[in-house]
Amino acid sequence: MAADWNHCAERGICNMQTEVGTEEQDIKLVMAGHVDHGKSTIIGRLLADTDSLPEGKLEQVKENCRKNSKPFEYAFLLDALKDEQSQGITIDSARVFFETDYRKYIILDAPGHIEFLKNMVTGAAKAEAALLVIDAEAGVQENSRRHGYMLSMLGIDQIAVLVNKMDLVDYDQEVYEVIKEEYSNFLQDIDIEPETFVPVSGFEGDNLIDLSPNMNWYQGETVLELLESFENEKLPADKSFRMPVQDVYKFTKGGDDRRIVAGTIESGSIEVGDEIAFYPSGKKSAVRSIEGFNEPEHESVGVGKATGFTLEEQIYITRGEVATKNGEMKPENGSRLRANLFWLGEEPLKKDKTYDLKLNTARSRARLEEIKRTIDASDLSQRQDKDKVERHDVAEVVLDLDEAISFDLAGELTNTSRFVLVDDYEIAGGGIIQEALKDEHSWVREKVMLRNYKWESSRISRERRAEKYSQQPTMVLITGEEDVGKKPTAKALEQQLFNDGKVVYFLGIGNVLYGVDADIKHAEEDHKEEHLRRLAEVSHIMLDAGTILIVTAIEIRQQDLELIETTVDSRQIETVWLGDNITTDVSYDLHIPSFEDEQESAHRIKQLLQDRGIIFKPW
């Protein structure tokens, strides 16, 4: 059977008469609906009736069926895998190519079996329009509704409904009208307005290509006319510019000294000279050049393009930030958000577990903070008492992230408002952000973004400084209980590194407290956060200067560290806990349990810096 599929695919393509580089578009459609409602049969029949099969193939499949004494089904024409035929169900979204005089179609056949909802999602997410198939005899079923719901969450807004197997209900208009009424109401509840409903029979071919004499009561569009009425997805060309940074490339081979910020433009466009701000850091620069290989020079570049550009200033940015254009709508930045999500994981989404959230190229650890409500997508029943989101459920939740990311809201820009959650190596759910929520460090982050935005860059890049000093700028944060030898260790470490020729500085907390912090009362607990913020800001300047900075502080808690990390890049911080008793929840990089000798403790921290590649390891 594999060969049959193969020929259909080739044939569809090969008949296409296009010049290289024409604007002609194909369109991707998905067939969704409950298992056994006849999606594959409709596709098979469409292939046969639009003459999209190679000569003799239909006869060959029929002959095979006769030999194996099983009734012929049009669905066999596209069952590409042995598995599928033996089980009689589609397990993945196979692709079928076919064409009409009007244009070329790629049809994704989404499995209707609940076990394969993740495959349905995979197929449907690529589609620009959907045909939802409902069996006239069986009526609206669980997955008729669930698939409808998933289509709306995936953002597919062109949906038409085919009421199939009309031959089995004697082409009864009443049956059709009842299903149309019931399903229209459902779609209305989830804010979908269907393009149309068509009564069909895939098996008999009624209303697919021509209006059927068996249903004179229906005078609307045929399926073929319906397909031709679907429009290509419109890329958000005139919206605010967003380019999630995939990476910053510098390939020095052959003397190439370009430093290229690379990514795919999700919306809007930019020109050479435009002011660009990167979020969540808030750093800014201007576009110096738009880069490409084997293509003419461009002065501007727009949505959909996998591109890259160089900047006027040597600012340090990394994968996960989003490039935006000054003067346009700013993205949201934060580490708490409210979202609607669907869950596909075997294990439910729970509160006592951490997940990885991926949004465009950004990534952060994430926890489920609150479930506002769960919705059973098969009947829209809602619950507010569940403490976990089960497989195939839809839910409104609050997520708490370890790191702030940049994003947009669902109503504003679609592509940059959608994320997935990874559970145990697998993508287990998808969500759409509805609201940015305040988190405890929002006030610090806002200051940091403004500081970065106003930052005056020097001509010496961070990389060049690191090369020159043979070290990565790093904050070594030594913490622990009182009187465990934090300061002696810090000073010994400073001395050892200094003697090795490193650019290193010990910053006593008191040195900041009475000078930089002179305007705030240091005794009061409620000023602790501001003290920490200022310490972190001073540290940030020292790190920008390329130093290894050694700081000591008593019993740093995780929330204190997180505040510091809002100001100083967490990858630039190494935390050391000194002493037997660990009295806070801070996550540290090194623990030195018993303090015997300051030189020994300092040496162990030096080894950590070597292992992390911050300073050179001699052998």
């Binding site: 594999a2 080739e10 995979t122 994968r319």
Partner: protein, 293 residues
Amino acid sequence: MNHLDRLENKSIHILREAYSEFDNLSMLWSVGKDSTVMLWLARKAFFGHVPIPLVHIDTGYMIPEMIEHRDKLAREWELEMIYGINEEALEEDRTFPEGDASHLECCENMKTEALKRTLDGSWPRYRLNHNTGEYEIDDNKEPYTGVIVGGRADEEGSRSKERYFSARDENNDWHVSQQPPEFWSQYKTDFAPGTHVRIHPILDWTEVDIWEYIQRENIPVVSLYFDRGEGERYRSLGCYPCTDTVESTASNVEEVVEELKSGKFSDIAERDGRAQDEEDGGGLESLRREGYM
């Protein structure tokens, strides 16, 4: 943005995701048209550079022009070129038709096994030394945890089931019905120790797309694809004992495109000339489950 632009942008995006997310990444290059287009897309993705090692599996029965073409481009484009080969099976004559193996056994020995052992680093990898122009045993024996492959969904039934990022378990096995979902340009970039991920940047391309892109970008492909005056050419390249030429007078890219779109081949599948597809009855799926490309 036209059809080829859309395909190109998607493929470049996928290549860049793979490059950023995998530490031990390699790209399989068979020197055929598909993986050569993929290599070209990598040059576009990385602005003229190819920062990913290219792995070629030498089956011992390669058409000599392919090896010449491989080394020529490797030098011109400064590629990190690596090849692997099943020396044992060659010596022991476990091949077809010269040795005592069937078609499928030969494929398993010379392609599947050689690939598996080259990727996991348990067999020698030969790396091109650009200073001497010779291949030397590579010091790097780290397993590749991300492998970029040039499979196309329209080639053959089982390939239409592939994801862009597709997990393989420790035995290289592919579990077709257990695949994770893939949507919103988010891919499987997390993997358990011992497993690896195959990445398919040109999954959505068809044979005609490949040729139209070769034409548009002026990509150098091996001359075996063109008629050189004898009225025949290769439509698909593989080992010489098992890959037949087709009758055709298409002698350049334009003529190949024309022939595929409206000529004699518009109705015949590309892999028609490949023997291993027929023998198994079920297409390539059983081979693929064990790690065949």
